[in-house]
Symmetry: C3
Subunit: 269 residues, 3 copies
């Protein structure tokens, strides 16, 4: 009985998620599907990559299928990747798996899915989720050998999604908003470790420049360390630096969007 | 261990989906529920019918329950339908199943659900999903005989949802937008076979009149056969004719809505 | 094989729901999760409490986890509550469970979750769902003794969410809109039994004052007892008094919101 994680940008109004699950259950009726998310914004590979990387380390080892695929029907390759922890990741070669693979121990084996025995008889050019990825994932979950799925690929040649790197200057850090969650919390392109190296520590306030305004925000452990309605910086549950508002929506109040530049500065002591 | 497909317009914010699933699991604890969709727009029988017809052929044979039911508590009959492939469909008699039943081999047995032994003790007039359809579906999944659920119905007397038929003239085809998916792709009321009969073939452009404007669109196999941002016509993964925009949202760009008329014309060669 | 109900305000776009489910399946791989809802509006404890109370009585007896938790990381206690029917409820001490516990037979044992053996090794201050509630719920589902989870609490000292009580005067009832569902039906803070005590009976019309206007609405059994587009009052599937519009959206048409006052008056006969 295997677990199959499933992430997509298919949404929940149309038939796609159910068609893929149906195929999985027809081939692997004893498998158990864990929906990671199907509400990834259409074609947003970065958000898909982030959610995979943050969810899969907490999921049972299994075969995980992800489809955020602006290039369906085109030239990007279909992939199956075996990672250090033992999971197999199945989906398009467009960078969707880079971050997750790293958090799951790195890629050990990568193959291009080519074996038609593991696909539906008729492969539509616009729905590889149903016709290629779902059946291949189900067969792998049933125990098919990844080496039988297609030819080996050099993991170094896989597509990448470039993530913004923080720029670290003498007095300030310039980073980006890489995600905004449903509570309006901004996730920044800098992790906790890096910030500590720079001498920023919990308990101290920082100047935060965002959307043309500057705010002094305390760097705290938890939302309730500030009063209701106040902004704060914190380390989120996945070790990234976040900006939030206690009992409020920081993104709305700060008028911030994904991709915006954020400038951090430690006040002179 | 049976599979139970479940589609509704209940949405995911309220208690209805969970109450129905709870009843199913209490009666048939070993069954496995596949959520087809619960985000069908409220009372939209056509969208529900379409999603069922497009998802169920890919799902394992099972008992499938669907509730999009503007007439709950009124005079429409509750149904159980056995189809050619072996599935049983459970829900209101309002046309929701016509298309799916056809794709699953046609109706072989139809009954009106009347046996109170398969319902909850108290049947609320406003929630037949929980009180009639879920328990009946669960008992059928457990092996109850469909003939025991209620009296036979003549399948010819079932309610229908009329679908718009294309008007085919000498030089042009007038059809309708019957669905818009989350990526903004328009599904038209004409299928690929019909278009081929009319001499339209992949590789040729067509004039497409929609929302008061006329566009020349190539009829191609896959989105990537046109440049980013260009419109295209294609055969979708379910064999319907679709209008899309590569890496864009065709419905927004064309200002099109479900029900709009679309005029297709092959340019003089 | 145990059932685990799961409700949250996490939404379905981010990684949280999947991370919690992953933890549950890692600890209790044979359990079956029933998603109650993850679309509870952010921090809306009342809506969460209502959905739990309306769904759980129809679900199999099990361990049910709920997280709507504006105070995460602060001083509210994490709870496990054993109720009369045999279920165990796991989540924050903020009133989320009061209504459900009552409908499931009342609280028999309440403990504060303190045993770190049932938590993840590292507990993030901002994600108790993943790090405390999910693993504790999974261990309880595996048969862990609730008494081993933490020290006993006096159920009388649990947090409460105050629900508005109707004001009953000689000639009128003043109540509130406590919920609006996806179909625009208003649920009022008065139940069917109370209304009957006041001599209101099905078949009679009532004056309903809402958003500054007064409407005469028939009190009927089902939506189809009035014509399309007409307002009605009815007893909903959970025995609360509701205002709806047949084949329409009452909340939109009446311009009503959760928290609005509604005045009911029986016309002089």
């Amino acid at each position: 009985m295997g677990f199959i994680g499933f992430l997509s940008d298919f949404g929940l109004r149309d038939e796609w998620v159910a068609a893929c699950k149906g195929i999985i259950y027809r081939i692997a009726p004893d498998s158990r599907i864990i929906d990671i998310s199907h509400e990834i914004p259409a074609f947003n590979i970065r958000k898909g990559a982030l959610v995979l990387a943050l969810a899969l380390p907490y999921c049972p080892i299994g075969v995980h299928m992800a489809v955020v695929d602006p290039g369906v029907g085109g030239f990007r390759r279909p992939l199956a990747l075996k990672v250090g922890r033992g999971d197999i990741l199945v989906g398009p070669d467009n960078g969707l798996f880079a971050l997750a693979a790293e958090r799951l121990g790195g890629i050990e084996i990568g193959v291009e899915i080519k074996n038609r025995r593991y696909m539906l008889d008729k492969v539509s050019p616009t729905f590889h989720g149903r016709d290629i990825f779902a059946p291949t994932a189900a067969h792998l979950s049933n125990g098919a050998d990844i080496a039988d799925v297609g030819p080996l690929l050099d993991p170094k040649l896989l597509a990448e999604v470039p993530w913004p790197k923080p720029i670290i200057e003498r007095e300030r850090i310039i980073c980006q908003v890489i995600d905004i969650d449903r509570f309006g919390t901004l996730r920044l392109s800098i992790n906790a470790l890096k910030l500590k190296e720079l001498g920023v520590s919990v308990g101290r306030p920082l100047w935060v420049g965002v959307s043309g305004h500057r705010h002094l925000m305390p760097f705290v452990e938890t939302f309730e360390d500030v009063s209701a309605g106040e902004f704060l910086m914190t380390v989120d549950s996945s070790n990234w630096i976040s900006i939030a508002q206690n009992l409020g929506n920081a993104a709305e109040r700060l008028n911030a969007s994904v991709g915006d530049e954020v400038v951090l500065k430690v006040p002179a002591s």
